[in-house]
Symmetry: C2
Subunit: 298 residues, 2 copies
């Protein structure tokens, strides 16, 4: 089985078409790498690339893309609504297929080491790759943004994991690490009462005692005239989609509310689908290898 | 997206290891073809190969394998429990990915034409490729077996679709065609009463007024102490797995019986899994393209 990793790097350029294409171009025409999607936002002045590939091939493409970003983006003149600390702002690696989290962590460290060395870029490791608990959350690492980076780096807590002890003059710093695949999954309720959606969200999410890898909030879908429980499942191998749905159903029942349907934002890995189907069909000994197409991807 | 077809040819050799390997070998080391499985049965004196691949590449491998079978198998001295009409007894093509049934039918006819010409083999088209209703079912085409073939071929109803009007002296005839992917899916009941499993099977199967693409029978799983509804779903794109399960649940309820679990025999296509998950999660606009891995197979 071919090993597959996903990378969803965010770059601080959402306006200049030539620069956007130059960065995305690093993921094109590379054996073993597939550019799934890229999109740029003018207001955020930021672009997000989604690429998958075999670890070594993907690593090379990401290193190249970061090099292009360092070359073409100048944070000193960068404005936009989205917080950012550098040109290659955040670079998460996500294990997809035949790859352990440990391998994804190693891959992220290899990339961090290489871009620090090659481009003189300070790099912070975050999420599962973090070298200390206070560096786990992106928001903490990015706090103060590019403008506050030079001062922040003077403190020992924010000495970078790789690279120089001061910001790259135009490209700031990069935040690189490995994390689990995040599934954005929403459940629509047969009610327009936002308070009910919020109450359900509080019951099912980790922060209030609910499912460990579930973040949730109540959302008012005014146009549709319904309320929604909007969720991020941050580790679908531990907290499955069907658990999230059934927990919503269970909590909704106390208000006499039923589920109107579900909604997946973006993509989900085959493993998440397999789990869910296995639960509802009561299948034992069922895994990805029972899906015909999984044998076409070796 | 790469087009993928499956072929599950049955050859009349299940004892001679060299011959078995020679036939299976036609599917090895071919660009665009993947040998998923092959197994031989001594009692049946028969082997079944499961291969997938791009249409043209798979076609070439199948033609080659039939050639090997014609060369190494002699039906005049063949004994076994399984009915058979020829060395390459039955050769079904199944659309898997990006391929219509019409294309699979054309592919089966191409193979039929080529093996008839190249090996002097009479070929009957069956299932979706059949040239007349009485040739649709394999059992009808194979009736009389190799031993009765010469007489059968004297009647105009059994003039072959391709090749000579009399049997190949040692290889008989071949039955080739296209059919849908068949999902073998069983539902275990929380009862040991075979009569209940049989009654449920009668209600849900097509032959008695049930689901159009569902064959079903009641089975006694004596070792497990339970009864089972054993099903073949002959077109999962029309009759979905979740429909079959929910119909079993509905019928079981009248006997106060619940479902103990499900069982998938062999593999199922991703599309069947997507259908089932979409139903239970109430997802709209959900298809294979929402599965990350489906983008790795282009």
């Amino acid at each position: 089985m071919k090993k597959i990793v996903e990378c969803v790097p965010n770059f601080s350029e959402g306006r200049d078409k030539d620069k956007i294409e130059a960065i995305a171009g690093a993921f094109r025409g590379k054996e073993g790498v597939k550019l799934l999607d890229y999109s740029a936002d003018r207001d955020h002045n930021r672009m997000v690339v989604t690429a998958v590939g075999e670890p070594e091939a993907l690593k090379a493409a990401v290193v190249e893309a970061i090099g292009v970003a360092v070359e073409v983006i100048d944070l000193r003149v960068h404005t936009g609504e989205h917080p950012r600390i550098g040109a290659a702002d955040v670079v998460p690696f996500i294990p997809v297929r035949g790859v352990t989290m440990e391998e994804a962590v190693e891959l992220s460290k290899d990339v961090a080491r290489e871009v620090a060395q090659r481009y003189g870029l300070p790099v912070y490791l975050y999420e599962r790759s973090a070298s200390a608990p206070h560096r786990t959350n992106l928001a903490d690492v990015r706090k103060g943004q590019f403008e506050g980076l030079a001062d922040k780096m003077l403190t020992p807590e924010w000495k970078p994991d790789f690279g120089p002890d001061s910001p790259h003059p135009t490209a700031g710093a990069a935040v690189i690490g490995a994390r689990m695949y995040l599934i954005a999954y929403n459940v629509n309720l047969n009610t327009d009462r936002l308070d009910i959606a919020k109450a359900i969200a509080r019951r099912i999410r980790h922060s209030n005692g609910g499912l460990r890898y579930c973040k949730a909030m109540g959302v008012d879908l005014a146009e549709k005239g319904i309320a929604q429980v909007s969720m991020n499942l941050t580790d679908y191998t531990q907290t499955a989609i069907y658990q999230a749905q059934e927990m919503v159903r269970m909590e909704a029942a106390r208000y006499g509310v039923t589920i109107a349907g579900g909604e997946l934002i973006g993509l989900m890995p085959l493993g998440a689908l397999v789990d869910t189907a296995a639960y509802y069909l009561g299948l034992e000994d069922f895994d990805e290898s029972r899906i015909l197409e999984s044998h076409l991807m070796e």
